[in-house]
Symmetry: C2
Subunit: 351 residues, 2 copies
């Protein structure tokens, strides 16, 4: 055992297969694959993705971009509506000396602010539009005006993007992909109507990935697909046989006739989507559910399977793998029975 439980373990063969399969399918669809590295936070996995044909990386923060550029990535898109101050602008300028760098703007105010601080530099912007998740992003029809303000202020406008996050609901992927197509097409047209070139139309999420309309979308940004998690399992987007990351946990108690594991929310994360059937699942016991979760305890209802022995280890599938990885210093990567640690290099780089 590499570390005391609980720890995160990656099945390298499965993970490689997920990386290659997505790259191959993107290639066939002639859409650029720009995986979201916030999921894995690992330089080693980013290299696997890039050497399998990814066009560049997506990240969520300037801090994540700095980690991946420092380790050799030459193309990062911060798919987030940054609000820049002098320091943030300086960090982006530094990054742009070593890599192609782009980030999101979702309002005229943000576009003007970006232009004031970064106009005339190589840093590019994409206009974020709301395709139905109702989180960030301007209405698609406003994308032209936002892009025009950015361009007038000296920013290079690369294109438009959205995150169809409402694909995270049972049966929601196809509808979300259609919303995404409609929003991105409208945004593209609105930007072009201002006489600006739209080089990239960027979308995609793991659940909606293969529903994406690749006549409209030129680039997809899935993250979770490398590992899978209980959310993807329950949405039917990934089969348990494709899940490559689990938390290895020890059964520490049989209190109340249930199995209590030492992997709690400080290892698995506390995410529980409305459609989730529990706080996580066991890879080797499909009927089991984590019925209660606290910081260092997962109380498992085995669903009829025999109670694992005290001291036995089990493989837990976190609900949301991005949250689990963000809690770990290292991923323990298993290949041919041996384990090695890959650091979660971008963990905690939230700003």
């Amino acid at each position: 055992m590499p570390a005391p439980t609980p720890y995160l373990q990656v099945d390298l063969a499965r993970m490689r297969r997920n990386v290659r399969d997505a790259a191959e399918r993107a290639g066939v669809a002639m859409v650029a694959l720009r995986p979201h590295a916030k999921t894995h936070k690992s330089v080693e996995i980013a290299r696997l993705q890039l050497s399998s044909g990814a066009a560049g990386l997506t990240v969520a923060t300037i801090g994540e971009a700095e980690v991946f550029v420092r380790h050799g990535c030459t193309d990062v898109f911060i798919a987030y509506p940054l609000w820049l101050d002098d320091r943030a602008a300086g960090r982006l300028r530094d990054l742009s000396n070593r890599a192609a760098v782009a980030f999101g703007v979702d309002s005229v105010a943000a576009a003007a602010n970006a232009g004031r601080l970064l106009g005339g530099t190589d840093v590019e912007v994409l206009v974020e539009v709301d395709s139905g998740q109702h989180r960030t992003g301007c209405p698609p029809d406003d994308a032209g005006q936002v892009a025009a303000v950015a361009a007038r202020a000296g920013m290079r406008v690369r294109g438009v993007f959205t995150f169809p996050g409402h694909a995270y609901s049972p049966g929601g992927a196809a509808t979300a992909a259609e919303d995404e197509r409609r929003a991105l097409a409208a945004a593209r047209d609105a930007v072009q109507a201002h006489g600006l070139d739209v080089r990239v139309v960027s979308g995609g999420s793991t659940p909606s990935l293969w529903d994406t309309d690749t006549r409209t979308v030129t680039e997809v940004r899935p993250g979770v697909y490398v590992f899978g998690d209980a959310q993807q399992w329950e949405l039917g987007t990934m089969a348990p046989e494709d899940i490559s990351l689990t938390a290895v946990a020890t059964v520490v108690s049989h209190a109340g006739g249930r199995a209590v594991l030492d992997a709690g929310s400080k290892v698995l994360g506390a995410d529980r989507a409305p459609y989730a059937t529990g706080f996580g699942r066991l890879l080797d016991h499909p009927d089991a559910r984590i019925a209660a979760l606290s910081e260092h305890h997962a109380v498992v209802d085995l669903g009829g399977a025999p109670l694992p022995r005290l001291g036995e280890t089990v493989r837990v599938v976190p609900n949301h793998v991005c949250a689990a990885v963000n809690l770990a210093d290292s991923l323990w990567v298993e290949e041919h029975g041996s384990l090695r640690a890959w650091p979660a290099s971008a963990r905690g780089r939230n700003g």
Copy 2:
């Protein structure tokens, strides 16, 4: 600004007041205060607690114990039903060369296993009993048998403990404290009936802390009281004026007419108890609620307060402060207008 937002900030004056107030009240009640360090993970805060009269520290894992003992703490109780293997037993033996060390057992099997690996050493055990949370812990009447098995196997039995976690419900504190009293008294009597001394009867949680029956309970183990959080605010256990830790976040978007902040679940944690009114609150806007939370976005419904400007920073109160601290590398401690970083030294020490 000490770091790019989002970051965690501690108001040192408030935090000190919380530490001292609890120490004073425990002193008056003649109950030992053994604060749970999993909340803050900070050596500096542990020292404040110990120099204010805490009897020792509570921790959740061997890894946390190692950090605090390495930094000079001489008395740690791992309030967790560890299932020992050779390695875990070795780590506990090493710790016991430098500090008083105790941990939990909640079954005859665990007691026998502990005795097999640690019998005859200075490491002590306390029997965990379930007082109504239904997580771990044996029934109170079984505590005598568990203690007797441990003692026969050569373990030193310190006493009994429980965590009345069901105090975390609106109006639940007094009932949970009464359940705690009953369970601990029964457990104490059951252990004594086996001819064993019960030196410590340990309970307490932040919500139930001052409802604890200090004629029965000899030691309390609150954690959250140093900082407070939105859970304590909503349970009515702590007033917003006593909350000493906030996440400082920037307004990055006004999409949909709401304020979107850059502090998401990767900074605040995703905990949302059934009674919670949102995913977190704003310290300076009591009517505001985080209506939606994703990894890097908090969508705030201001509850009628004016929309903060783009680029403005706000102070977010996480729902569950233990989860937020476990995501941070450092706490930024503010005193007299200046800020310094205290490392979250025990962050990620989950095993």
